[in-house]
Symmetry: C2
Subunit: 101 residues, 2 copies
């Protein structure tokens, strides 16, 4: 449902207040950024991003409560799984070919 790209997009929208700017920071077209937001808005029980209109700086976008919570949970999931899997990842990595050979 969520992946690293969607999480990063939400995070950047939260920081820069604009879907276009957030997508640009990720080298993503506006169309692609919008598509990801629409996918998330349709997937969750409430929208994750809300467009704001007007005001001196023109329109922008903000994370909704659901958007912030989904992002928080996704980052928490990354942290707990990375921690829990660290030993196996290390053992698996020890079986990888030494590329400097």
């Amino acid at each position: 449902m969520m992946g690293p790209g969607k999480a990063e997009l939400l995070e950047r929208i939260g920081h820069c207040g604009s879907i276009a700017a957030a997508g640009r920071e990720m080298g993503m077209s506006y169309k692609r950024a919008w598509m990801l937001i629409e996918t998330m808005n349709a997937m969750f029980s409430a929208p994750v991003v809300e467009s704001t209109r007007g005001g001196p700086g023109g329109g922008g976008a903000v994370l909704t409560g659901t958007g912030s919570e989904v992002l928080r949970l996704y980052r928490a999931l990354e942290r707990s799984t990375a921690e829990a899997g660290a030993a196996e990842v290390k053992e698996l990595a020890a079986h990888l070919r030494d590329m400097s050979e």
Copy 2:
């Protein structure tokens, strides 16, 4: 480096002793199954699958010690991360739209 498809392929080769049969069980072409095995054989410090030749049943394939160990570690990784992330996954899922609506 490893993913669910490669892990399943290794598991099935271990069970049925044949790359072609394992790939077939997964609806995968022989060419694709071979490519995945070659990728893993090149990625790890020792091959994960060894072809066997001759004998009454013709040639087959077996997991090497490295192959068995890599598969075991990958499954252990899946278990520990699933367990560690269960709470967040449940909370994230609670935010998903109820599709029966």
